[in-house]
Amino acid sequence: MIIPFEQLQRLLLRVERPGRYVGGEVNAVRKPWDITPTRVCLAFPDVYDLGMSNLGLMVLYDILNRLDGVLAERTYAPWPDMAAALRGSGLPLYSLETYRPLAEFDIIGFSLPYETLYTNLLEMLDLAGLPLLSADRKSHHPLVIAGGHATFNPEPVADFVDAFVIGEGEEVIVEIVRAFERVRDQSREAQLLALAQVPGVYVPRFYDVTYHADGTVAEVTPNRPGLPFPIRRRIVTRLPPPPTRLLVPNIAITHDRGTVEIQRGCTRGCRFCHAGFVTRPLRERPLEEVLVAVDDILAATGYEEVALLSLSSADYSQIGPLVERLMERYGERRLSVSLPSLRLESFSVGLADAVSRGRRTGFTFAPEAGTERLRAVINKAIPAGQLLEVVGEVFRRGWRTVKLYFMIGLPGEEPEDVRAIADLVQAVRAEGRRAHGRQAQVNVTVSTFIPKPHTPFQWAALISPEEMRSRQRLLRESLRGGGVKLSWSDARLTQLEAALSRGDRRLGAAIHRAWTLGARFDSWDEQFDEEAWAAAIAPTIAFYAHRERAREERFPWDHINTGVHRSYLWQQWEMSRQGHAQPDCRTGCTGCGILAEFGAQQNEEWVCPAPSKEHG
């Protein structure tokens, strides 16, 4: 069944930004439904404006639609007004390409980049008319799979998802689809057993969890013979060619531009950074391939801006020549190039200057902590002198606004570290005023540190809401006066994200309860339903969020092997507590485990030095 456009139109004039719900984007792929046997719907559980900005979904869309006999369409989370309109008219959630109900697809693939999307996952399943619990779905229902950075701890949503993809999806998604094709007519149990054999796929129902009396995990054990244990992350040994026929939205979206991933992974080893630990090793895309991709993207999309995506732009070994060649080629043709994640160093300022072509919007840096001592603790070393010198250069080159990102609540943070943030911001403002007087502006975003699984800080505690508020207050009071704008993260939302990040399988019931009570779009301040979440999760917040873990505690995500060894993370945690930094691993292998796990597949695009004897 296709939902007639006339029927949708009845809803569209009653909702905000109806262009979110009609598809029709340039480069959208509509394969013939009736002669394409395997049908996948890729689902992004946040609003269209954000989901359309997500490169991961676009990569999988491109790969699946290139396969014979397979089609991929898309859907995004309807904003509450549209969800109500759909329910009111008895229409199910549908795909944007052909307006098909989700229930008619074979596979629904959810992208879960962050934890605060979990209630939207439930909302979308419900709007699709599907049973929420994996255990209640039968073989005639679509398979619900999920991947993305949040799923390195899949347990909190293990009740709702049939199978998780752990790690990079480009190759495994094809293996999943082909495995499904062989068992499509079999029972759900047989379908899932076949999927569980695909390396990197985790089917939670085949793994039992037991708990100690104190609530911590006792054991995770496979309940069928021949299942992988632990489940090892999938990586691609070379970055596959980037998608270039990118979808061009008809309405304005959050990041309305083309994107090329220039490298994946990071060698810096900042200890708070989830992405830095779960995307190793660092792999670079060859310069020529990036240039060709930019050409193809501009021709296929008509975009006026391209973002060169990576965790640390200036670390791309060919970044200088890349920027130079792009400017040479497109400078006259009004292309803007954006370089996210620039480090606080003079070289980065030169890069930004080269791509700005005279435009001077804000310049963003993330020192993260206020003192050199604390920056050693988190392993993001920037000498204080260098910081001010670089910021001064930024102002002198014409930028009037500098944005700074800091965290409070880092492990080992003392009151003087918080005061140092204020001192630093004031020093930055002084630099700005020297160059631009009262026109200089410093925008400061202070988030609260959230310990993440698979990082050295997975043992750490989240600070209490009282501490969050008192440290925020301290900053507010020390940063009075003009020229500084301060924003910070909501304490309740921080607590929730922290609990979901390190939650176990029992948290599924709380997520379900919160959704039942009306929680949706939890990462949106104005949508965040404090009461629903308080009712669902309050008694367990201290256990999941605010508790420092002992060395030997078994974590709910320990059966997920990212390739970075737990012993290495513990060693980094110990070094952190002694205030010792760890040099960038390009200067010498630090033995994180990646080469031990994946080293056999290493090639020249990996930026890993030869392992020393000690770590081989």
């Binding site: 139109q9 262009g19 029709g24 984007e25 340039v26 061009v248 008809n250 296929a300 008509g302 435009r359």
Partner: protein
């Protein structure tokens, strides 16, 4: 030597849910994909020289919309149309393309009025709708509020008629003033008729430009 290329086009399907600004961006990107040499304004944020005659409200279809594209060099209109058409998203269709006199005033300054056709679901008998139409036309003023501002709808309403009826629907035609600062909205007329509660679809059939007279 730059060229002012005028396009007559239709807007339908999903694209009508894109706002006016969105539609401007859609055209700009289509022109870039087509490889046509679009003129940009100077400065740090160059603006593409694409001038749409009249913004189309979100959700409204257009049968005969106008825009001007300024190109750096003259391009044969047939060639430009052939290059541009395949680059347009579904729902945008070029109906004609021809060079316009560069000395003419900008298109928005030439627009005088717009003709709309509206199909609206209602339980009112058509005779009652006719009676309301007549009383609206007979009124000397129609004071209304929109987004907190008061205005008079009557001088903006040039013509209004019942075009026909179907099962549970009435079809209306109307000509509304469409000058800068004096633009009538068809949904406001529906509301004044007491018909805005029912599902309706609006199509702009024609824009009347100054050169064509009233």
């Amino acid at each position: 030597m730059s060229q002012r290329l005028r396009l007559l086009y239709a807007v339908d399907g999903p694209i009508r849910y894109a706002s006016h600004l969105d539609q401007m961006r859609i055209w700009e990107r289509a022109v870039r994909r087509a490889g046509l040499p679009l003129v940009y304004s100077a400065g740090f944020t160059p603006h593409p020289q694409i001038h749409v005659a009249a913004a189309l409200p979100v959700g409204v279809a257009g049968r005969a919309e106008w825009l001007d594209l300024w190109l750096e060099q003259p391009v044969d209109p047939t060639v430009a149309r052939a290059a541009l058409s395949p680059q347009l998203p579904a729902g945008l269709t070029i109906r004609d393309a021809f060079p316009a006199d560069p000395a003419e005033p900008a298109l928005p300054a030439q627009v005088r009025a717009a003709e709309y056709h509206v199909s609206v679901e209602t339980t009112e008998p058509v005779a009652e709708v006719r009676r309301r139409v007549e009383s609206l036309l007979a009124a000397e003023s129609l004071p209304r509020q929109r987004r907190g501002r008061s205005y008079d709808l009557r001088p903006l309403l040039q013509r209004l008629w019942v075009e026909g009826e179907g099962e549970g629907t009435v079809r209306l035609g109307m000509v509304l003033s469409a000058r800068e600062g004096a633009t009538g909205r068809p949904d406001e007329v529906l509301d004044a008729l007491g018909l805005a509660g029912g599902f309706f679809q609006i199509e702009r059939r024609a824009l009347r430009l100054a050169a064509e007279g009233r």
